[in-house]
């Protein structure tokens, strides 16, 4: 049904066909390891990828399949594969097409887990990465080398919230016949469907805004179905015979979903980071209210930005929707409905004031996640980056007074009152 219904309808219905046996309106939770085969021929054809069907829940599961199809439909992709976490999605997506000796060009402003994967882990397997400032388009072009096989970035960068110019990067990638992969966690398909702007695949930590309630960890890789692996001629995992499945050629057999099939056939089978059926059920339920939540996240963010911008205890506010932000024009182009609900700001008085603010707000939860229905805050200088000196903090784009805020769905009046308490404490700490 994907191309014919609008977004909100898809977020409720895509991927689900009403349970054939009893008509259950909600997706049944197939909490089972295995599926009984009607006969041996069917069994072998499922194993050989000759036909769809479920054999073992590490590879596919009916409840998880509904979530995969729903997210693929929301993104406008050809297929999706869900994984146990967002990091598993990134790892599986990269290793599905890159091998020893291959190279990635990636944005330098990304979630720390992504940076660490590319900087520390993938080099152990002979995959190297050149990091480029996301605002430096020419830098991306210059960083592409003979062995570059992937361009990777986040639409809304971390922690500077710089916006990646999707079309410009996609053009560079297309010119070199290299796929362009975007971690779209911070925007979700509600704010921007990156595939529409030339990205070839997207990654999500479904844990965040898609799931939206902080209840389950999960990830997804969406195959855009818009990359010509055959014409590129340098992706043997997709276009050359795959020995474990009787030498099947995924590109010939699966065309626009060849990439997703490779992840399914290799990563899910051999690495096994599968999503649990209960997790898929919880995340599906979250997606049903994605639009409603995102609208509220953004109306709260707008009011919070106004509140912070006019507050005496705030030294600076950073958000792409503010005209002062260097990416403001790109945000208006790619994120017209809102530029995400992550805000960073500085508290007058530096590290001690920032710490006092965090310790004295009560409604906002002090933790390291983002995208929850609840408002979350963290003071990187005293927590995630507390062992780093002031100079190294600046290099990481973090200042001592910086607070990162994930704006939730509470009544904005209560959030403002909560922050006032925090700011009074910050002032006392700064004056002391």
């Amino acid at each position: 049904m994907s191309d014919f219904f609008n977004f909100d309808t898809l977020s409720l219905h895509a991927g689900q066909t009403i349970d054939k046996e009893f008509g259950a309106r909600a997706t049944p939770i197939y909490q089972t390891t295995s599926f009984v085969f009607p006969d041996t021929d069917t069994a072998s054809s499922i194993f050989n990828l000759e036909r769809g069907g479920h054999a073992y829940s590490r590879i596919t599961n009916p409840t998880v399949s509904v979530l995969e199809q729903r997210i693929a439909a929301l993104e406008g992709g050809s297929a999706a594969v869900c994984t146990a976490s967002g990091m598993a999605a990134t790892f599986c997506a990269i290793t599905a097409i890159l091998s020893q000796g291959d190279h990635i060009v990636a944005s330098s402003q990304m979630y720390g887990g992504n940076i660490s994967l590319m900087k520390n882990t993938l080099p152990r397997f002979g995959i190297t990465t050149t990091f480029v400032d996301p605002t430096d388009i020419g830098g991306f072009r210059d960083a592409v080398e003979e062995n570059t096989r992937l361009i990777y970035g986040e639409l809304i960068g971390n922690p500077g919230l710089d916006i990646l110019d999707l079309e410009a990067i996609a053009e560079i990638a297309a010119a070199s016949r290299i796929p362009f992969m975007v971690d779209a966690t911070f925007n979700t398909p509600y704010l921007c469907r990156c595939l529409d702007y030339g990205a070839n695949m997207t990654i999500h930590s479904v844990t965040k805004w898609l799931g939206g309630h902080g209840t389950a960890i999960g990830g997804v890789v969406v195959d855009g179905g818009n990359f010509d692996w055959g014409a590129a001629g340098k992706y043997p995992t997709i276009t050359e015979p795959y020995a474990p499945f009787q030498g099947i050629n995924l590109w010939e057999e699966f065309g626009p979903s060849a990439f997703a099939t490779r992840i399914r056939a290799e990563a899910m089978r051999d690495f096994g980071p599968s999503m649990a059926p209960m997790t898929a059920f919880l995340l599906l339920q979250g997606i049903e209210t994605l639009s409603l939540r995102m609208e509220k996240h953004h109306s709260n963010t707008e009011q919070m930005l106004e509140f912070l911008s006019n507050h005496d205890q705030v030294s600076w506010v950073n958000h792409p929707s503010l005209p002062s932000h260097p990416s403001h024009a790109l945000a208006r182009k790619y994120l017209p409905k809102g530029a995400g609900s992550i805000v960073s700001f500085g508290v007058n008085g530096g590290r001690e004031a920032g710490k006092a603010f965090i310790e004295n707000v009560q409604l906002a939860s002090h933790l390291a996640n983002v995208g929850d229905a609840k408002t979350l805050i963290i003071h990187p200088a005293s927590t995630t980056h507390s062992r780093i000196d002031a100079e190294a903090l600046v290099a990481a784009g973090i200042s001592e007074d910086m607070i990162r805020l994930s704006v939730g769905l509470e009544d904005i009046r209560d959030l403002k009152a909560d922050f006032e308490t925090g700011f009074r404490a910050a002032k006392r700490a700064a004056d002391a």
């Binding site: 046996e21 009893f22 309106r25 049944p28 939770i29 479920h54 209960m278």
Partner: protein, 383 residues
């Protein structure tokens, strides 16, 4: 087919759509109807009235007890409540085993009494006392055997005979022994009640209850109350309980063997005044227990010399055993009924039925029996 085969397969068939070997968790409120004319053609409309996952458990439990059908509930207490609501009206009279679970006693004396139902608490271990309690308006006899926590047993066949003559329904709370060891319908009872929280689940994961009926007519009355009052079991709980049931016999056999060894150890201990376990030859109703059940279960109690103070000291110092309510799970639990499970029963009533102050109840789990006995031994030394 044998019990061990049925505990695994009864009620569960591979999902026809996907082949899933386990029953899916139908976490859905409602069921889409193919058309107005085909309303309920697939069997389900709304999850209070019926849910496919819950039905799978009900089918399994009915099969294991050898009954016509089963209705499950949110808790064991709601199963007992539904039984009373199904078979008692204002002006009716019921005979309840005087050593029934404290919660049952509370339900009768503090709740259902407000609706014009009379109760007599009779000594379920004494057939004559039960027969003498029958009145013209007696509609239900509820026994619990072995009873919690006294371990007193009721003669299911004899009391079923009394109930039959009185035109009353005989409901047996079969929680302690489960159909693996004791099948009340084969002895003439009409209903079998369970707290599925206990041995059916077996892992301290859920709370739930079930009423299995001998005939479709009895089942329809219970089912009507289940739907009307809505104290249903959730699909998640049913699913977990379905998994627990598959190892019921293995757990019961091992836990019972552990209980037997512990009972023998305690009986020989100089600091122990008395031990009650149906498997012991010294148990007053050992012969009855051996006759109507194929196993003795994993519940027992003992009294430490020195009364309540000594009992408390033992429970506060013991390791491995957990001081907690509930019973029947893989974890061994130790309980002091007078202050915990039966605190709502008046002191005079407690004394009358044999819940003495120093009674320490054991729910024997699956741990190594050497560790369980070792822990009791250490604790007894400190008494």
């Amino acid at each position: 087919m044998g019990f061990r085969t049925r505990q695994i397969h009864a009620g569960v068939t591979p999902d026809p759509t996907t082949g899933a070997i386990l029953t899916p968790i139908y976490q859905s409120t409602t069921f889409v109807q193919p058309s107005v004319d085909e309303y309920l053609s697939k069997g389900f409309s709304y999850s209070r009235s019926g849910n496919p996952t819950v039905r799978a458990l009900e089918a399994k439990l009915a099969d294991l007890e050898g009954g016509a059908d089963c209705a499950t509930f949110g808790t064991g207490m709601s199963a007992v409540t539904a039984t009373m609501l199904a078979f008692l009206n204002a002006g009716d009279h019921a005979i309840i085993s005087d050593v029934a679970y404290g919660g049952t006693y509370r339900l009768c004396t503090k709740v259902l009494s407000r609706f014009g139902i009379d109760f007599t608490f009779a000594d379920g271990s004494n057939n004559d006392d039960v027969a003498a309690s029958v009145r013209g308006n007696t509609a239900l006899i509820l026994t619990e055997t072995p009873a919690n926590p006294t371990m007193k047993c009721s003669d299911i066949a004899a009391i079923s005979e009394i109930a039959k003559k009185a035109g009353a329904v005989h409901a047996v709370d079969n929680t302690f022994l489960t159909p693996y060891y004791q099948r009340p319908f084969e002895l003439g009872a009409d209903l079998s009640i369970h707290s599925t929280t206990k041995y059916m689940d077996g892992h301290n994961a859920t709370v739930g209850g079930a009423v299995i009926s001998r005939t479709p007519e009895l089942a329809a009355k219970v089912k009507f109350i289940q739907n009307s009052t809505g104290s249903i079991m959730s699909p998640q709980v049913a699913w977990l309980t379905l998994q627990g049931c598959k190892t019921l016999s293995v757990r019961m056999d091992q836990q019972s063997a552990n209980a037997m060894a512990i009972a023998e150890y305690l009986e020989a201990h100089p600091k122990v005044a008395q031990v009650a376990y149906p498997g012991l030859k010294s148990f007053a109703q050992h012969e009855l227990s051996s006759r109507q059940a194929s196993g003795y279960g994993a519940m027992l109690w003992f009294e430490v010399k020195g009364g309540v103070a000594a009992g408390k000291k033992l429970m506060d110092n013991i390791e491995v055993w957990t001081l907690a309510e509930n019973l029947g799970s893989v974890e061994s639990l130790i309980t002091h009924p007078v202050t915990m499970t039966h605190a709502d029963v008046e002191e005079a009533e407690r004394k009358r039925v044999g819940i003495i102050d120093g009674l320490v109840r054991l729910s024997v789990g699956l741990e190594d029996v050497e560790d369980l006995i070792g822990a009791l031994d250490n604790a007894l030394q400190q008494v």
